[in-house]
Amino acid sequence: MARIDLVDLAHSYGGNDAAPESFALKPISMTWRQGGAYALLGPSGCGKTTLLNLISGIVTPSRGKILFDGVDITLRSTRERNIAQVFQFPVIYDTMTVGQNLAFPLKNRGVPKAEVDKRVAEIARLLDLTADVNRKATRLTADAKQKISLGRGLVRSDVAAVLFDEPLTVIDPELKWQLRSKLKALHRELDLTMIYVTHDQTEALTFADTVVVMHDGRVVQSGTPAELFEKPAHTFVGYFIGSPGMNIIAAEVKGREARIDGHTITLNRGYDALPAGAKVEIGVRPEFVEVTAPTPGLLTAKIDRIDDLGRIRFARVRVGDVKFAARVPAAFAPSEGCVGLKFDPANVHVYADSRLVEGAA
């Protein structure tokens, strides 16, 4: 159990002299508090697994330091760091039974037998593996094998942190939900720091208290699921989180007004101090744009199609060449052709060069 600090940490698989833009992980500094449930979210190749492997010590960083509770452990081995990690695909020791697999990390550290048996029984119970404890691990399905991997990650109670690298990839969707809530329950029960890498936003948002979004080797935002949804700090976060993602539209912003396609939208805040020459965009989630009958004074759009997601409907519309997604109110029966778009000013954000600009009240 530990607080983990990353200080100017950066890594390049091409060595320290590689061009800064080619770094798999660009320099970051951040703190993971003890006992937190974190999700590291981002598309494939954004550097999230690299970051995880740096923390666990499988990869040694090109630059920067990692501190556990203030102690520099950058050059220490995985074993000394006392970290647990669960990988994407099940790793089991073929010759051992399920119980022996679970006991392996404890035995290697010389934990007394009575204690080992107690922990193994407890973890097997938590993961519904009790019936299989004496069976050969190779004889089980991929699901069960991955549960063993998870169990090996959780069996030590004194670890600095448990790291999960997309651990539920091989698991059936039904079991995925169960296991995720189980992990969450375990987190509350065991007071462990957990870092969970995934490219699946549902997984990240349901598991974590704090979601860290990565893009192209950088951390672009770290916050609660609500913060990421309501106030994305980067257009990438807006686009990546939410389904459908945020509408990002090039606009001219002046004071409390944004102009799109010759039409003016009122903003809640004043944006007089926008950096000169920056690419200015506004971002608004489809949930905060409403489709109405065409009305003078509203932005007019053409409907491409309507996606019915069951409890909510989204219209895919077009203003000139710009595509939008917008919510269709339950009572509204869209007729052919044109509609008006009504924006919720409190949830329209302004981005300069992809980064959120805080307006003046």
Partner: protein, 300 residues
């Protein structure tokens, strides 16, 4: 899927059947024919029934004693070279580099002995071990270790065993290396995370993942060493005395030296049968060991 019945398909098998008949079945039948008869000069044959087989399996007769002596000798030889080559091959495979140009260099060096024709291997060691002109024999005798594979049984055995290890350990090493290469990195990373020692990594990950290639390696090396002929024949000619006369050498002595075709045929049939049985046992073990049987009911 329904199978279509089409008797014409037999015609497709016919060419293969014809080839196999001429290359294997007919020669084998002549051997069976010989094994039941006694031969004399002028192509005279006399019916002997199962007489040769009875004599062969009875150690108190001349033929039986020669057969069993060479059989035990051969089994002992196979056991010794397996006991050396398998662990040595594993150690070599484990200590090989995993990336960079050194991999290619190691693979080429390892493959070299495998590319040399067997009688050339025999000749190399025959000359290498000679005490007058051979580097090994001369040096050993010169530094005070008496060594003469022509006169001394133990020296002859050591020479043949070292030669076989030199010739064939590479095969085991290459197979093991291929087995090791197929282990995903995640296994090593997980073992690191679990705090496994080098020895546990070997016993818990590498050895179990290598077991299939090891079985193949053991099978190949056993069969090859059980059928060995050329190399010991070139080096020692089966001597001194009969001390390195393996089954195949004995067989050639009986068949071509004494021209006892009946005895030789009986011996070769029994020899063949032993090899078939060993193959079958290995095949059964391998197919059973290789299959993972996931059992659905175990999953909650």
């Amino acid at each position: 899927m329904d199978k279509t019945v089409n008797q014409k398909a037999w015609f497709l098998v016919l060419p293969v059947f014809a080839v196999v008949a001429f290359s294997a079945i007919l020669p084998l039948m002549t051997v069976v024919n010989y094994s039941m008869q006694d031969t004399f000069g002028n192509n005279q044959f006399f019916w002997n029934g199962v007489g040769w087989f009875k004599e062969l399996l009875d150690p108190s007769t001349d033929l039986g004693s020669r057969f069993f002596a060479s059989l035990w000798r051969n089994l002992f030889f196979s056991a010794v070279i397996l006991a050396i080559e398998v662990p040595l091959g594993i150690v070599i495979a484990l200590s090989m580099p995993t990336k960079g140009w050194t991999v290619a260099a190691c693979l080429v060096i390892l493959a070299l002995p495998l590319l040399i024709p067997w009688n050339v291997v025999g000749t190399i060691w025959q000359i290498f071990g000679r005490e007058d002109i051979g580097l090994l024999g001369y040096v050993l005798n010169h530094i005070g270790i008496p060594y003469n594979y022509v006169a001394n049984d133990i020296d002859a055995w050591i020479t043949i065993i070292v030669m076989d290890v030199w010739h064939w350990t590479s095969l085991v090493a290459l197979l093991c290396y291929a087995g090791l290469k197929s282990i995903p990195d995640a296994y090593y990373q997980a073992a690191q995370i679990d705090g496994a020692s080098r020895w546990s990594v070997f016993t818990a990950i590498q050895l179990p993942k290598m077991n299939r290639v090891l079985l193949i390696a053991v099978l190949l090396r056993f069969m090859d060493s059980f059928m060995i002929y050329t190399e010991p024949f070139v080096v020692t000619g089966g001597g001194p005395g009969n001390s390195t006369t393996f089954i195949s050498i004995e067989l050639v002595k009986i068949a071509l030296g004494q021209f006892d075709l009946g005895k030789a045929a009986a011996l070769s049939l029994v020899y063949n049968l032993i090899i078939l049985i060993v193959c079958w046992v290995f095949y059964t073990v391998m197919t059973n060991a290789g299959i993972e049987r996931p059992q659905k009911e175990g999953v909650a």
